[in-house]
């Protein structure tokens, strides 16, 4: 009993004291009997006197205080609800032709009008909104995942000796190669081939050509974190590198990752729309907002303004939420706030 750390709890100590002779060992456990040092003296944790806010609560409050966050959330929620429910009750499908009414403006039956092929624009817009939402969300998550793996690996192994530097250099050049590749042309090459299998292939395809800039930033951030004392300490304690990455590095860059993912949703939607617009994106049995815009007719503005407005509302709402999130997570960004 030389190490005081061996006394595991006050219960152990008092048991020890009860069993030993108090006069033979007056120090042991004496504090336990001191009324001034009893645990009851500490104020109760759940009392009203001390109230600290957790980080999550703080973020939530900061986010909800932002007016543009509310605007973004409301528009986004309305659009999601419309995408889910509108095709369920609307009487026309995206490929039902009403040729008698082709190229007529909005009416009570065709809410957004009919295009020159006799297709109902509202039905197509809502169906396209569904597809664009799924692709946007899926692509953003996958893009972040890819960027996280490449960026953190490159940043982490960069300072680990000669082989680490070589690996880091290879990954950086991979990033540069993907940046040089005209991604739109390769998307156009791949997309029709993969679309024959499933329209969901669009998600990995778009993610494959969108992760580079995020990975670059994540690499730079990781390089800074690897030099901090706690990561060094973890390394010297022999912690597995993957555990270090998950426990020490990712939580530190999580706020940036969340912002980037949010803004990535809108970028993915814009990319998918552009690709579908030129006919290399979503193919026939599915409709995307880009395909709807494809049937534009300058002499009949209602053929393109409603889908374009829905698309703009979607992207703007996501961007509003993303920027509000940035303000909430990073209060120091005030100087660079746009």
């Amino acid at each position: 009993m030389t190490n005081p750390g061996d006394i595991r709890s006050t219960a152990d100590a008092s048991e020890l004291r009860r069993r030993s002779d108090p006069d033979a060992n007056p120090v042991l456990g004496s504090a336990l009997d001191d009324p001034n040092l009893q645990e009851d003296a500490v104020p109760a944790q759940d009392g009203p006197a001390i109230e600290s806010m957790s980080r999550g609560e703080l973020l939530r409050r900061r986010f909800l205080r932002n007016r543009s966050a509310w605007i973004g959330m409301i528009i986004f929620a309305v659009l999601v609800l419309m995408a889910i429910f509108a095709p369920m009750f609307y009487q026309y499908g995206p490929f039902e032709r009403d040729l008698r009414n082709s190229l007529t403006g909005p009416t009570q039956y065709h809410w957004f009008g009919v295009n020159e092929n006799g297709l109902d624009i509202f039905a197509r817009t809502m169906q396209g909104l569904r597809i664009s939402l799924v692709i946007g969300l899926g692509t953003a998550v996958l893009t972040t995942f890819l960027a996280l793996i490449v960026g953190i690996t490159a940043g982490y192994i960069g300072g680990k000796g000669k082989w680490g530097a070589i690996g880091d250099g290879a990954l950086v050049n991979l990033i540069n190669l993907f940046l040089v590749i005209p991604s739109l042309l390769l998307l156009m090459l791949f997309s029709p081939v993969l679309q024959r299998a499933s329209w969901l292939w669009m998600i990995p395809l778009l993610a494959l050509f969108a992760w580079m800039l995020t990975a670059r930033v994540l690499r730079a951030m990781t390089q800074q974190l690897v030099r901090t004392e706690y990561v060094e300490a973890a390394k010297f304690m022999g912690v597995n590198p993957i555990v270090t990455m998950v426990r020490h590095i990712i939580p530190n860059i999580a706020s940036w990752i969340i912002i980037d993912t949010t803004l990535g949703v809108s970028a993915a939607i814009l990319g998918e729309t552009g690709l579908s617009f030129i006919g290399f994106g979503i193919q026939y049995p599915q409709v995307s907002l880009g395909t709807v815009l494809q049937d534009y007719n300058i002499s009949a503005p209602y053929t393109w303004i409603p889908p374009a407005a829905v698309l703009a509302a979607l992207v703007i709402s996501i961007n509003l939420m993303g920027e509000a999130l940035r303000d909430a997570l990073d209060p120091t960004s005030g100087s660079s706030r746009l």
Partner: protein
Amino acid sequence: MARFVAIRVLTYVILAFLATSFAYLLAAALMNPQEVLYPPIATEPVPYETAQHYLNVRNVNPDTPLMERYARWLGGLVRGDLGVTTGTNKSMVPVVDELANRIPISLRLVILGTIIGTVAGVLLGMVAAVARDSIGDRLTTLLAFFILSLPTPVIILIVQQTNQGIMDATGWGLPAINPVNPLLPEGSWASWKYQIEALVMPTIVLSLTAAASYSRYMKVTTLDVLGSDYLRTARAKGLTRGQAMNRHGLRMALIPMGQYFAFAVGAAFTGSLFVELMFNWQGVGRFAVSSIGMADVNGTAGVVLYTAILTLLSATLADILQGALDPRIR
């Protein structure tokens, strides 16, 4: 400085070569230009010898190993020959000729759009940062936010619809399609006037998107510079705000812009692709869409080579700009 640029250029050349090779191999592996020999309406098959000859001349014979076709294409590339158009385009036009016809049409769009967009974006971003929270700043920021939330086709549609509205109301408007009017005598003043007028709307579209993203970046970097120590020192030395900004701040704020410039040209190519499709310009972007659509392996590889060279040149230019601006590199 020279060494810095030389190493960068060498890296870019290697990257461009890899990108183009990658694109050729992908196109050759994924596309089926031989399908044109077997149309569904054919009543009897093409004779074997004829089919083989047809495919070999175009270097798209699926019986030849992929690497052998690639080696042949690479041999041509060294001699400045990119092969002939394939796929459903049976006319066997050399891709180099096709590109030579189309590059001037596209390039004027890309160059004008990038330069106007960059200059406007840098100026707007700087003004927005210096006069922070003024009406001009708020308006610029809001507009940039709005433009960046719209895909290029929608911006084009808005511009075209506005033009159409003006034309309906006043009877005068800009030409909505075609870069040149074939009915006007070539070289005449009317023909030049038409070409310039036709250039206005596409350039507006491209420079709007470029200016929107540039003004945002520029605003952020200028705000960083405005809060920096050396600018405060310059003010303390007795310079006015404008003098300090012009002499010390502007250069530092422009350094990161140099790097964005390389991406701006790539973005302008993508933008010009939509512009060419929707304004009916027979440029490289349109050629890209049609050659991928009709399984033209050589044409696709040619377009990728063009974009790779364009990116390479703009990245080099960005490095030179950065070297000129940033005294720490020299």
